[in-house]
Amino acid sequence: MSLDFAATTPLTATEEARRQIEICNACRYCEGFCSVFPAMTRSKAFADGDLTHLSNLCHNCRGCHYACQYTAPHEFDLNIPAALAEVRQDSWERLARPQALARMFHERGVAMAGLLVVALTLFFALIAAARPTGGEGFYAYMAHNMMIAIFIPAFVAPLALIGLSLRDYWREVGGGRVRLRHLAKAGDMAGRMKNLNGGHGDGCNFEDGDRFSQKRRIAHQLMMWGFLACFAATSSGTILHYVFGWYAPYPLWAPPKLLGVPGGIAMVAGAIGLAALKLRADPDLGARRVWGGEMAFIVLLGAVAATGLALYAATGTGAVGPLLAVHLATVMTLFLLMPFSKMIHGFFRFTALVAEAGKLEKTR
């Protein structure tokens, strides 16, 4: 006699994850790999919100899958990384607003490319039609005030939408009061990407089957820290411009270049690494339907950084105009798609880590 796991109707992502996590929770051999398993062992039954939380804690390191005695062809047919990836992906799309945009851009790299074309057209047209009479460096092609007028709303509006999504997420997973120490713990976890270290520090399983490697962790951190450095570079430029009246172009030792150049190089290296690793990894251990969208997102990030570096390298040449248009178009696409692309993972994962820091305290 055995329990029939075959369902008459296909399970939803959440139902399938619940089926799998209940089996997982009766085994618990994988406890040391990551943040998911200690969180899982707090419960015997899993509400939808619990699964949303577990899925966003999962960083897809795949250690549990390669260690699992119950993966196919075993009849229990566990694939925890994929099951949680589906729930996680679902949560990003369900909690986004508008949901339709999220569904379109997460799944389709082509949609992302389409938006990029629109942005390119916009910036070439602007440079052609509204080229300022004065200004130095790339401000000779587009006035600083115009850039600000375009990019502040293009940045703030998506962030506001993300804020609303995260509020809904917090409610759904039953997050408690946020303390500074929860933020600090989450920052430490993300800063060192502890959830990709395998628990033993030798890294995760990704591009080379059940062998552990640090490559994905390194590539991700190059991308993440590179992105943050570039973001800081841009912010510092804005501050220098408005607070200190010091206008671009900046020398190499000034914060915009000091942060931006290494940040850009790190992002390009990270993007190449992440894309190469993704090509070698087993797509069945993730959310398969968004593979294309994820890959397009990596390419977009790489393009943002590469065009930024190219723009710097082209200083003083005739290439500045077209390169500026391309760079601004990639940045615009990235900003606009923050709520609707893989970019959202950073916000959700960090929020999940903060929520988990609070939940851990409650159980102690």
Partner: protein, 464 residues
């Protein structure tokens, strides 16, 4: 099949922990090694893939183990479970050697869990594999591959050719193709017991064994063990016995592993097919009693038991993978489980009436005992009076068999005419040399690691 026509230095039969330890040790000594694993790749590793920890002697704190666990304490723990049915010389040698195994395991890719938050608290005596036994098996296969060991899956060894006191070659069916000959200068047998061969179990135990569930790999069918016994190899261990625990009756026939465990017995009453209790459910804490319940259930009609609990106890044990049967009354629960409602109600009423007040303490012997029953429950006896009521079906789940090859402390296989000069054995196939009955958590992996390494070293020295 020309690629197997070469002469290997060492052929290792089996692909679990002991086989891998032997292959790695031999390859590191410079030998050319082939592993013949009977299972296909996803199921490689035998019962090792279901294991979780390694019981290890240590004289002081040794990561990840805390405190100290000295030879005498370890040996006494072993003697308690085997009731003295153990070879003291081999057992003590195994225990002493376990200490040097732990760093060796770490050096060969095994990662341990720093600490454990679950219900078992064994951080002093047992080192837990991060990710469990399959993670250990994966690590060893990678290490073996890096050392140049040839690994063949779905390689069923049908016959071990013995000429006098030496082994000449093996007949091997690879992926169900006609047998090929694999020649080597030395051989290590690490192909497990016979618990997955239900016919053999039925011959040994009786026809009721066909109702047993096999907790581990379906590939341990004892083909090589039987072949060696037929050729007169010395054997050890009770041929009629297997180690069985009570598991969830809805578990798969094979390979259900850890998640089929049921820890609810101490907080339940357990009845048989006829609705009658048959043993003291509260005799001792569950870690000390789970091993006898397989045998107890095996002795009941149809080899089945039914554990009944009420809402007071549902959160006192680890969840099973299968949800319990739930009902608002005892007769309804009995009916849902296919039992006679009147008989079960009578049993429960008599049990409830025999319970006495006291202070319930789920984690220690609380002395809350029934009075006046033929079969008392001597601890944790609380009336079943708080709906909803829950029920789990129990069946015997076979873990391993005791019959095996008798080996010397150099892991060499013997016959009445003396040792076979180029044959060694490790793991479950020879564990009966040390474990006469009972089981000690994590000791199987200790035997496999210790004897696998000895077998690999001896075989490599033989061909050097």
């Amino acid at each position: 099949m020309t690629r197997y026509s070469d002469l290997y230095d060492i052929a290792v039969v089996g692909g679990g922990n002991a086989a891998l330890c032997a292959a790695i040790t031999a390859a590191e000594a410079g030998a050319r090694v082939i592993i013949l694993e009977g299972a296909p790749l996803p199921y490689r590793g035998g019962n090792s893939r279901h294991t979780r920890n390694f019981r290890c002697m240590h004289r002081g704190p040794m990561s990840p183990l805390t405190g100290a666990y000295e030879e005498d304490e370890y040996f006494n723990d072993l003697m308690l479970v085997t009731k003295g049915k153990t070879d003291e010389h081999l057992a003590r040698m195994t225990i002493r050697t376990s200490e040097e195994c732990l760093p060796w395991m770490q050096d060969h890719g095994v990662r341990f869990q720093p600490s454990l938050s679950g219900t078992l608290s064994l951080s002093r005596t047992n080192a837990f594999f991060l990710g469990g036994g399959k993670a250990l098996v994966n690590a060893y296969y990678n290490t073996a591959a890096d050392l140049g060991v040839t690994i063949v899956y779905e390689a069923q060894v049908r016959h071990v050719h013995r000429e006098g006191q030496a082994i000449t070659h093996l007949d091997v069916e690879i992926a169900e193709a006609p047998p090929v000959t694999i020649r080597a200068r030395a051989f290590v047998l690490a192909s497990g017991g016979f618990q997955a061969d239900l016919d053999w179990l039925a011959r040994a135990w009786g026809p009721s064994a066909r109702n047993f569930l096999i907790r581990g790999t379906p590939y341990n069918r004892g083909v090589v063990l039987k072949d060696m016994l037929d050729q007169g190899a010395d054997s050890v261990g009770d041929p009629t016995q297997c180690h069985a625990v009570a598991i969830d009756g809805r578990a798969p026939k094979y390979d259900g592993g850890i998640v089929t465990r049921l820890d609810c017995v101490p907080f339940s009453i357990v009845v048989n097919r006829d609705g009658q209790r048959f043993y003291d459910e509260g005799e001792d804490t569950w870690p000390k009693r789970y091993a006898i319940w397989g045998r107890l259930v095996a002795a009941q009609p149809d080899q089945v038991g039914y554990a009944l609990i009420d809402a007071k106890s549902i959160d006192l044990f680890m969840p099973s993978v299968f949800p319990p049967i739930v009902a608002d009354t005892i007769p309804e629960l009995a009916a849902k489980m296919g039992l006679d409602p009147a008989a079960v109600q009578t049993t429960v009423s008599a049990f409830n009436a025999a319970c006495r007040p006291g202070t319930f303490h789920p984690t220690e012997l609380d002395g809350m005992a029934t009075e006046g029953l033929d079969i008392q429950k001597t601890n944790w006896a609380r009336p079943l009076d708080t709906p909803p009521y829950y029920g789990y079906q129990l069946r015997p789940g076979v873990t391993f068999t005791y019959l095996g090859l008798k080996v010397s402390d150099s892991a060499q296989v013997h016959t009445p005419d003396g040792p076979i000069t180029n044959l060694w054995a490790a793991g479950e196939i020879m564990a009966g040399s040390i474990l006469g009955q009972g089981y000690l958590a994590g000791f199987g992996m200790t035997i496999g690691t210790v004897f696998g390494r000895i077998a690999g070293k001896e075989a490599a020295a033989h061909v050097a």
